[in-house]
């Protein structure tokens, strides 16, 4: 979680906080992709995309 907080501070300092929602969305999606590799979550992803 330290990295996520650090990245938030980084975006803030770069005046790019508008990227934050995208980052969270991508983070959750990627988490899903990582977790889904060979797991029971895969059908859920396929139905999404």
């Amino acid at each position: 979680m330290d990295v996520i907080a650090e990245f938030f501070m980084f975006l803030k300092s770069r005046k790019r906080l508008w990227l934050w929602p995208l980052f969270i969305l991508l983070f959750l999606l990627s988490l899903l992709l990582v977790l889904a590799q060979g797991s029971a979550l895969a059908p859920f992803i396929y139905s999404l995309f």
Binding site: R16, L19, L22, F23, L26, L29, L31, L33, V34
Partner: protein, 595 residues
Amino acid sequence: MYILGISAYFHDSAACLLQDGHIVAAAQEERFTRIKNDESFPVNAIKYCLSEAGISLNQVDHIVFYEKPFLKFERLLETYLAFAPSGFISFMKAMPIWLKDKLFLKKNIVKQLKVIDDSLDTKKASLLFSSHHQSHAASAFYPSPFDKAVILTADGVGEWTTTSVAIGEGNKIEQVKEIGFPHSIGLLYSAFTYYLGFKVNCDEYKVMGLAPYGKPVYEDLIFKHIVDLKTDGSFRLDMRYFNYCQGLTMTSTRFDELFGQAARKPKATITPFHMDVAASIQAAAEHIMLTLTKALHQEYQIDALCMACGVALNCVVNGKILKQSGFKRLWIQPAAGDAGGALGAAYAVWYQHLDNEREDTQGKDKMQNALLGPSFETSAIKECLTDNHLRFEELKTSDVHSKIAQHLSEGKVIGYFKGRAEFGPRALGARSILADPRRQDMPAVLNQKIKFRESFRPFAPAVLEEHAAAYFGLEVPSPYMLLVSAINPEFHIASAGESQLSGFDLLKVKRSIIPAVTHVDYTARVQTVNAKHHPDFYKLIKAFYDLTACPCIVNTSFNRMDEPIVNTPQEAADCFLQTDMDVLVIEDFLVEKMA
């Protein structure tokens, strides 16, 4: 004070150790792992650097990584957003790697450092991050022989920057201009590399070698449709022709339509069309870089130029910059690619972060002829040769060079392993394969016996520095083999019927008195060898000169195709045994292949 610079996780990972601003050691990880362009964390290179200094990681004052991962990630996010939804497949591939690994770079670096030295006190360790182009600019200026210079870095992309211009003076580097992603001369060249069926980030030099076989018939097309070049050298690419922002290929279908053909498949035949495309992108790259450097010279009125980054490895461009840009002095970081980022990051800490004074250069560079890698004890070499059942002769140091020169003059191919290994992509006489340049058949012999590489690629000469002007019209040193220059017409051989030949048939012509190192356009990628800076290699070439009146020899890297340059005596012995190399020289030991 010790500073450890690290580059990794993209390509050519490397480590460099500075002690009080002096380079103690620098090495690329590929030399240890034997994986070409290895991008993994340079555990072995770091261990080597520490052993060269005789210190542990706890004694290193600052550890610095050569780029800033958050900035790079920000660029990826913005790029995906800009191209959404078309970049989704690329996103699916890249994001998990970032979110699992690359975003946690700091943690990963610490973890890897603990693997090297478990006793490392991570709370005390100072871990810093330099930006990509800051690292490259530092690698170009701080070890250069100039007190003041314009610094030009141009590559694919760093974090956001693809091309940067800075002014270096004393211990300060001030960036004055930059061109941002996705407009990149490096990526433009890489896109053509991809289109021509070669490996991106790896085989760009093959495009450069192929270019002289073709005619730049598509150069106008490139500037009409793809590149919008301004008079100050800044440029924009028409991104409709590319796919690297959002896809898994470098070029788009529109690009194929423009040139009238799909991209060449990697093993497919190289046709005159591919040669013309190579010639065109090379001519375009030269035009862009010359426009940029001429404008920089005019604007800043400084006569010295330093360069680093991937584009600085385009030796043909470099030769033209030297002769036509207006800059009188040019210095290029020998490890111009990402490996050199490790060295630059370390220098950036020493001079910029710690504000140490940069002493007068007195016109000398600090790269120690790029001989910054491992060397081996006589006992270890002897043991290696004995273990491999190789019958060797231990020569008197005074006899080594004349004996090798004799073998060279007899047309033998020699594996030469001497002293510390080179840092950077070029073999400069420490891990080299040497041959006689006067023989027309030598490129074919080298390719058939050892290198097995594409026949169209030229071999390079190493020449005694004092003869470089007469033979190659080079008035400045080129110790790192980074300048291409035309062979003096005085040494050309008139050849009837050459104008009727085209493509690879051009290889059949004997063009000069040193045909093995004369490319089809009568140029050569020259390494000048100075008696004071590289005494061993100088003595060897001098011995050949005394014997033959030819002041240069063929110098190519000591490796087989797609392998990194040899690093240890064992790897040299393996290469010797597994190829038809005639003679192996490791330090003062000489091994001849039994008939």
